[in-house]
């Protein structure tokens, strides 16, 4: 027997034993559990750091506008102010119940902020509310990830930990988008979600004359080639989404339903294969609402059988929370031109149109 064939035969035996060990025991899963959990932990540290960063930014912002003991205010807000969804196995009047709960929560948040804020300027008040909400979203994300990691380790549930590990990069990106959005919210720069209000502002040629039709929601009037245009958007330039559904309902009822067309403009989530800033046109109420505002639009449109159009600017979830990029700005200009074309082509001269610019109006007065 020579040496090299000895080596080869031993090698075959070693590899055979190793493959038995890998195929017919739980050892690979244990190793994977260990690897994936340490990966999750590393990413979790990144999210934790971001949360600390967000807290620091929030505290700095609140003390810059004269709030005393900002960290105490922050502590009192995160973990509180949750909303319990209404019963949905008995859906009768669920929208009314949901709307009521949302308004009550919003009012208690508003009360909470108003108590500690000296200034009565509303846009600052709205921005403080948003900053507090962003920090509590990060807190929640952090707690959820930790929960699933600890649950997986406790019961040796390697599938749970593996799933978590696979989702971590996306979750870290979302957390980063939230932290970056704080810069936009505190310095008042329009974000991706502001495309609706931006288009609205362009349609009225940047005019200032408006009246408040619902709380924190403004109504503008203008004209395009002999057609009367009503434009609804949230009141800026603080971070605010207003009540566009309620505002549309009020306006249509005020006018007795004599409206030829409703056009809603909003940001929409893009598919991975789509370009940011693409503009698309369709039917329905373009609004990313949990229910009450959207159904108000649909109800009032169907009550008076008014055609309702949707114009959307496509973007990723991260872009929706970050200051707008050049692509999305071009999408805003394109959808402004599209809205004007729809008005010219589909509404008779002398007709009336309502355009609703849906979204957060941060940085857009």
């Amino acid at each position: 027997m020579n040496g090299s064939s000895d080596v080869a035969s031993y090698l075959i035996v070693v590899l055979f034993l190793a493959s038995l060990l890998m195929n017919f025991t739980d050892i690979p899963q244990r190793i994977q559990l260990h690897r994936f959990s340490s990966f999750v932990r590393r990413k979790l540290y990144a999210i934790e750091e971001m949360e600390v960063d967000a807290r620091r930014k929030a505290v700095a912002y609140m003390s810059s506008i004269g709030i005393k003991e900002p960290s105490k205010i922050l502590e009192g807000f995160t973990d509180n102010f949750f909303l319990i969804r209404p019963v949905d196995i008995e859906p009768t009047d669920i929208i009314r119940r949901f709307k009521h709960l949302i308004r009550v929560r919003e009012n208690s948040v508003r009360e909470y902020v108003r108590k500690v804020l000296d200034t009565t300027e509303r846009s600052i008040q709205y921005s403080v509310e948003t900053v507090l909400e962003v920090v509590s979203v990060l807190r929640l994300l952090n707690k959820l990830v930790r929960h699933y990691l600890e649950l997986g380790l406790k019961y040796n549930n390697w599938i749970l930990v593996m799933q978590l590990a696979i989702q971590m990069p996306e979750l870290v990106e979302i957390a980063r988008a939230y932290v970056n959005s704080l810069n936009a919210f505190t310095s008042g720069i329009p974000i991706g979600d502001s495309v609706g209000p931006l288009v609205a502002k362009m349609l009225v040629n940047l005019q200032e004359n408006s009246r408040e039709i619902s709380e924190g929601t403004d109504l503008y009037e203008t004209e395009v080639d002999g057609r009367k245009i009503y434009v609804i958007k949230a009141s800026g330039p603080g971070s605010n989404v207003g009540w566009p559904g309620e505002a549309l309902e009020k306006l249509v009822e005020e006018l007795g339903g004599t409206i030829d067309r409703i056009i809603t403009v909003d940001a929409a989530l893009k598919l991975e294969s789509e370009e940011s800033g693409e503009v698309a046109y369709g039917t329905g109420a373009a609004i990313g609402d949990i229910g009450p505002e959207k159904i108000a639009m649909e109800r009032v449109a169907s009550k008076y059988s008014i055609p309702i159009d949707a114009v959307v600017v496509k973007m990723s979830e991260i872009e929706a929370l970050s200051p707008i990029s050049r692509n999305i700005y071009e999408g805003v200009v394109k959808s402004y031109e599209l809205v004007q074309r729809v008005i010219r082509e589909k509404v008779r001269e002398g007709g009336t149109v309502v355009v609703v610019g849906v979204g957060n109006t941060v940085g857009v007065k």
Partner: protein, 95 residues
């Protein structure tokens, strides 16, 4: 003879170990060969517009600006200039 066999066993284990280490290092080796993304410089810019004569011009963002804010007068007809949009412009880093 026994020594020689022992030597072959060690050899076989070493080869198996080498294979294991190579598999473990594979992702790292792949990451070495893939190219790194280019650095970009980001800058906030804004577009100002005169609502009465449609004059438009880009300019640098200044702290405290928002869309709808009056930021000077129009060079064509001296009416107020208003911020129309604020966005991020990306420049690829040359240096």
């Amino acid at each position: 003879m026994l020594f020689q066999q022992f030597d072959a066993l060690i050899m076989a284990l070493l080869i198996a170990l080498l294979l294991l280490v190579l598999t473990a290092l594979l992702p790292w080796l792949i990451s070495l060969t893939s190219s790194k993304p280019k650095a970009v410089r980001e800058e906030l810019v804004e577009v100002v517009r005169c609502p009465s004569c449609s004059y438009e011009s880009p300019r640098k963002y200044e702290k405290g600006d928002y869309v709808g804010k009056i930021v000077g007068t129009c060079p064509r007809d001296s009416k107020p200039l208003v911020v129309k949009a604020i966005y991020i412009e990306k420049y690829s880093q040359t240096t």
